[in-house]
Symmetry: C2
Subunit: 421 residues, 2 copies
Amino acid sequence: MNSQSVEQYMAQLGQQARQASRLAAAAQSGVKNCALLEAAVAIEDQASEVAQENSRDLDAGRTAGLDAALLDRLELTADRITAMAEGLRQVAALPDPVGEITNMSFRPSGIQVGHMRVPLGVIGIIYESRPNVTADAAALCLKSGNASILRGGSEALHSNIAVANCIAQGLRAAGLPETLVQVVNTADRAAVGKLLKMPEYVDVIIPRGGKGLIERVMQESSIPVIKHLHGVCHVYIDEQADLEKANAIAYNAKTHRYGVCNAMETLLVAEPVASRVLPELAKRYSAAGVELRGCERTCAILGDITAATAADWDEEYLAPILAIRVVDGIEQAIQHIEQHGSQHTDAIVTEDYGKARKFLREVDSSSVMVNASTRFADGFEYGLGAEIGISTDKLHVRGPVGLEGLTSQKFIVLGDGHIRE
Amino acid sequence: MNSQSVEQYMAQLGQQARQASRLAAAAQSGVKNCALLEAAVAIEDQASEVAQENSRDLDAGRTAGLDAALLDRLELTADRITAMAEGLRQVAALPDPVGEITNMSFRPSGIQVGHMRVPLGVIGIIYESRPNVTADAAALCLKSGNASILRGGSEALHSNIAVANCIAQGLRAAGLPETLVQVVNTADRAAVGKLLKMPEYVDVIIPRGGKGLIERVMQESSIPVIKHLHGVCHVYIDEQADLEKANAIAYNAKTHRYGVCNAMETLLVAEPVASRVLPELAKRYSAAGVELRGCERTCAILGDITAATAADWDEEYLAPILAIRVVDGIEQAIQHIEQHGSQHTDAIVTEDYGKARKFLREVDSSSVMVNASTRFADGFEYGLGAEIGISTDKLHVRGPVGLEGLTSQKFIVLGDGHIRE
């Protein structure tokens, strides 16, 4: 395709999605669930075809010299194919958020007013070369009554199309139009550019991937974006902390997984307990191979660790590296988080009621925790059933985004011939 | 000020607002209410100073040749000054949305997860020459825990500053920083341009005014905008309508006020009842001086009215003009609304349960009504206490925007040393 035909192609997808979105919004729960369950069966039935298409992508990726991590994400093992099908069934089992009516109350005028939950319309998902996202994202958009346009990494094109075919089978079986879930069928990067500039057809863009992708989407999109860019998460160990809990949480938040956005990147410790907390923690970190970079007071306590530079406080390492700062107390901790945090997830460890309450209220992050590991910031852990992404923005939705985040609320008014006097 | 110093000045306001927003978010309800009540007293005490500053604006406006409607909106009569003070007291009396905790529930891991309602941060309000908006907007932003930057029409600058001084007195009396509510102190239009380009200081922009203003803001803003552009509202009279209710609602929705966004602009009537409904309604409209523009079938029934052109179906008249179309039934009505509506407010008149339910579900507007006048689409009528605007967007908030629309929800997690296994 040349760039003009890419534009035309994308506009056509957009138009079809907009049209399909009306049927998606009106589709009954049972019908949507049927589509999801049938798609799950199709994925299992056609596991070998999916794997075969995936091998084409893997071969091309190896030839192109993709690194091992990328190839790993690209691979659809038998387990991952089963997990995709299982994921579809899990989404089918979730309650349908669409049409939920809440807060209906009578007004003095006699009208009854409340909210009805409705889909957003058309959702554009832009992601990297992880073909299982195709199934996940399609399922969440469908269940929430939205049409979706899915644009995965070009390295995964054959895999994505194979998965999309299985979903299309599910849609057909349920009597829904295939245009309800559309995978962008070209590796041309111009497709992304056009997708971001079709507000007439697309209501919201959700990018999933590395910072480069997110930044490009933020800069180019003329459509609202649900996203998070950084995850510079903090744990603050207060002077009233239970030091055993503090140790467990600070260790877990850093070492449970390194490459994830809800991993702790900076540990803040109240000065009065620093010398009791840090040496033991440092031992555990060091055993796990975590490099420590400390402020002056931390270095004074721990001795032979690297001195942190100013840049360390803003760094999202996504690696076995941890910045540690000793602070005077909760005020300075909150200030530090305000200045250096990314409004993702921050936790306090304390047994003090007032400080717990203060931290919860004053830390302006999408998830704020007391005595729990930042690693809990996750759609499954929060009970959303699944997660299409995490938002660190302030409007619409903050934190892990599940089905509800893919909907909004309109007002409904019931009268009996009421007019305004 | 030259354009560079306007930029610097706006950046300074932004910085101050960002700083103040932290105090606003943490301020207790009682303190915020105290500021509002003291500001109300200040407005009453200084009514003559406010009126005097307003006369300066009025004089300048007359000299500049502003039209009568604009001068009327600009004028702060004694009644309007009293109403401003009363408005502040009403906002003080509303429940505080900030800090509300909902849906806390235990997860299998043992953590307890729920939502806390939090302010958005800094809100930029851009409005035309109606100085009473200064008090309204400041009050709603303050009560919802946000800092605000208010940019009114340049013709109202002296009036706005006088009102802002009263609000500043209220803030001081409550021990809050004056930078919590800042009125832009220059008539330079570059100030608006800069306000729209400071995402580091401003979290959301709310434009209030005519289409020209809204369009400019939509085009230029790099900050999320809460707005509505058009109000092409419909009433659909179904064949199962109670014709007395239909008559009352259709008359009220058009004639109660003409220049408002929730007035009906197009009447849709089901063919089977058209010849019974329209003649009587036409008589009432004609007595009220409303010009009718009908589709072919309407003209066949009503005889001597103007034939509607294609453009009429998309027109927001804001005037005593009404487009009328006879449709086959509910399907065509919903289709018409989809194609020509502005997702503002649409109503069905019917006694049929299934059609009421279908219309509520399938019409994708910010307010959808059964057997009630579109004129009810209003923050006060809905019980929001007050309204800072109306949103026809899909994300964050739809319909009249009250205090809750100026907040969002973060996740809070309570644990007892919980770590992720």
